[in-house]
């Protein structure tokens, strides 16, 4: 009886200790995640806008109806999907390619190459995006000068034509994003047992066959979470698209959903509408993450 009481007291003391150890984290999560999220949910049901920024009130589902009734919504949603798919595809393709190359024994000066290739990622996005914007200038930009001088091509209106401006933003983001995937893939490659390749060599497997049958499956456990993260980041990456296109130029044709939200909230003061759209974005990404992780068995052990 006494021993049971002692155990209960110990358990209580232990849980109290755990609680106080966790308290700082709980506080931070409540302050920077939970509170803004709940506030955003409330705003999405409100009429908060330029005329009701202080005296706003909850008005129901009107802002959600307005989001789906917005003529640009589906167009921008399509562009966001395109933006995400193209970017993540190139991030992974270039990242894995470079990682595999850097993993080869015959490559000399690996650490120097690695440092060089990580540079785009190490520089602040803001600086890189604005530098690329300068390089895309029609007359004075390095890209058109290169195209004209070395490839004898006509200059491209990178920043004034909608398609080209969107491509310019994608090129910039591909440049910025591949080092992350390269680093992840490099880490994954280190953990693949060398014996597997030696066994494949004994069986006379080609390099391509080894890549598809050993490297790719063994990289899956590290790449699937990285792709999931990359997708969410890219879907919500306002910096690059906003800075390269100077806030959606030309003619608001280069927006992705998150830049459209930013503009609605912070340039047009449509806080209720923007909050509703941001929750729609949250729902899309939440759904994607759940389905993708389940379909790819990403949480299962690799071997």
């Amino acid at each position: 009886m006494q021993s049971e009481a002692t155990n209960t007291a110990e358990r209580r003391q232990r849980s109290r200790f755990l609680f106080w150890m966790l308290a700082p984290t709980i506080l931070i999560v409540l302050a920077v995640v939970a509170y803004p999220f709940v506030y955003n949910v409330v705003l999405s049901f409100s009429n908060m806008n330029l005329y009701h920024i202080r005296d706003w009130k909850v008005v129901g589902l009107g802002q959600y109806a307005a989001v789906f009734a917005e003529p640009n919504f589906w167009k921008i949603f399509g562009k966001t999907v395109l933006w995400t798919v193209v970017n993540v595809f190139f991030h992974v393709a270039i990242g894995v390619f470079l990682a595999v190359m850097l993993h080869q024994k015959f490559i000399k000066g690996k650490s120097a190459w690695r440092t060089l290739l990580i540079l785009p990622w190490a520089l602040p996005q803001y600086i890189t995006a604005l530098t690329w914007r300068g390089m895309f200038n029609y007359e004075y930009g390095a890209v058109n000068l290169f195209l004209g001088k070395f490839l004898n091509l006509s200059p491209i209106e990178w920043l004034t034509s909608p398609t080209e401006a969107f491509m310019a933003a994608i090129i910039t983001n591909v440049w910025l994003g591949f080092p992350f995937m390269m680093v992840v893939a490099l880490g994954g490659l280190q953990s693949i047992p060398e014996e597997l390749y030696e066994a494949a060599d004994v069986d006379g497997a080609s390099a391509w066959s080894k890549f598809w049958n050993i490297t790719v499956p063994m990289l899956r456990p590290v790449l699937i979470p990285a792709i999931t993260l990359g997708t969410v980041w890219t879907f919500n990456n306002i910096n690059v698209v906003w800075l390269v296109s100077n806030g959606g130029e030309p003619a608001d044709q280069t927006h992705i959903l998150v830049s459209y939200v930013y503009k609605a909230a912070f340039a047009m003061y449509r806080f209720g509408w923007a909050a509703a759209l941001s929750l729609v974005i949250f729902a899309i990404l939440f759904l994607f993450t759940q389905v993708f992780l389940r379909q790819t068995d990403a949480t299962e052990p690799a071997y």
């Binding site: 806008n49 330029l50 920024i53 202080r54 004075y140 003619a251 912070f266 047009m268």
Partner: protein, 415 residues
């Protein structure tokens, strides 16, 4: 009570206590800090920083001004958000078309709360601006208008009409390297921004909206103005194929454009870059009307969250920043037009040819509407204007789209 609820309660109390902290007076140690967010750019910013440093030296230990530069749009948006959240700097400096947004959102308090009537009475009508029955802004300059700025070495005189000017600008547009691209243009300006399109719109006889805020952009005058700008680029080929603000600035400062359309905030920078520049009115359009820019004042508004004890300190700062000594120094160094008649009529202004040219441009300008719908007008015009310039829509479609986009934004604002 469960522990987690107790934790919430403690948190809530702590947050409330911090939010309700009494603002009981100046700090016991150190000076009273007056925060100012502004959008003074280039040479004007350097001048402002020097003036602030001098003030801080003079009031060391008592008052310290802490200025922070922000881009114009960001300045207004962040200030509104900060102010609604009970924060933000004590003063905001910007163009007068911000004023109605700041007043509408309850972000600022009337300047009459801070400055005595005797001080405000010294300004002319452009110096103390009101909206909806209250005065919200005290201006240190009439200085938000565009003008025709020319490099005197390349273009000694600017005629009154575009018709006379165009052959000169064509002659100045030169490809010296023979690569098919001009190395120097006759003219440049930021033609991605509708603010810079307005002189052509007014020159064609058009305008942006009625006094009650209804857009008036789907008109033959807008089409004519768009055609004129396109002609400058595609027919006369005197402006670059692509030119935003930075490109225009670089071209003019490097002598690779003989003229630029820009406002007083940029002129000091041209002097610093070694350009011997002159100011002229933007020429008359074929309609015989002047290409009239919008004119407006720029000045200071007071954050609604400023505590009562700080008002005497703010008064000292505002009297310094908008007073006669400052306005005289600004007129002399920056060629800004004073809002104090005593300075406006002083030799510092009447003997300054740049200022007189600037005043001449203001004479034919059109006052910036102060209605909050201007926000939607600028934003709604921008996209179609850029589409027209990129050739993806015709001038007629551009004008129609401008009207529709502005109207849509006005309607959307009420959602």
């Amino acid at each position: 009570m469960p522990r987690i609820l107790r934790l919430f309660a403690v948190l809530w109390l702590a947050a409330s206590a911090s939010a309700c902290r009494p603002d009981d007076g100046p700090p016991k140690d150190g000076p009273v800090v007056i925060g100012i967010w502004h959008q003074k750019d280039g040479g004007e910013r350097a001048f402002f920083d020097r003036q602030v440093a001098a003030f801080n030296r003079e009031h060391e230990g008592r008052i310290r001004i802490e200025p922070l530069w922000r881009e114009t749009e960001e300045l207004r948006n962040l200030f509104v958000i900060a102010s609604v959240g009970g924060q933000g700097p004590d003063l905001i400096f910007g163009p007068s078309d911000n004023m109605s947004i700041l007043a509408l959102t309850g972000s600022v308090r009337p300047v009459t709360d801070v400055l005595p009537d005797t001080f405000l009475a010294r300004f002319d009508s452009s110096g103390v601006l009101g909206w909806n029955g209250k005065q919200w802004l005290v201006a240190d300059q009439v200085g938000n208008h565009l003008a025709f700025v020319y490099n005197k070495k390349l273009l000694p005189n600017v005629p009154e009409t575009w018709e006379e000017l165009l052959p000169q600008l064509q002659a100045l547009t030169k490809d010296t390297t023979g690569d098919g691209r001009p190395d120097r243009y006759g003219l440049t300006w930021n033609y991605t921004e509708p603010f810079f399109f307005v002189p052509f719109l007014t020159g064609a006889g058009g305008w942006m909206m009625t006094p009650d805020g209804t857009p008036t952009l789907d008109t033959p005058q807008t089409v004519e103005a768009i055609r004129f700008v396109l002609d400058l680029r595609d027919r006369y080929k005197i402006i670059p194929g692509e030119s935003d603000y930075n490109v225009a600035e670089t071209l003019f400062k490097e002598g690779r454009a003989a003229a630029v359309i820009n406002g007083p905030w940029a002129w000091a920078g041209y002097k610093d870059a070694g350009i011997d520049y002159g100011i002229a009115r933007i020429p008359k359009m074929p309609s015989g009307r002047w290409s009239a820019p919008v004119t407006s004042s720029k000045g200071y508004s007071v954050n609604v969250n400023v505590p009562a004890w700080k008002i005497p300190y703010l008064r000292t700062v505002l009297e310094f920043l908008t007073g006669p000594a400052m306005q005289t120094a600004m007129a002399d160094s920056l060629a800004t037009i004073p809002t104090l008649p005593a300075v406006l009529n002083s030799p510092a202004v009447t003997n300054n040819p740049t200022l007189q040219a600037s005043l001449s441009q203001v004479e034919v300008g059109r006052p910036m509407p102060l209605a909050p719908q201007m926000r939607q007008v600028w934003d709604g015009m921008r996209g179609p204007y850029q589409s027209v310039m990129s050739g993806s829509v015709s001038p007629e479609q551009g004008a129609r789209q401008m009207q529709a986009e502005v109207q849509k934004r006005i309607n959307d604002t009420f959602l």
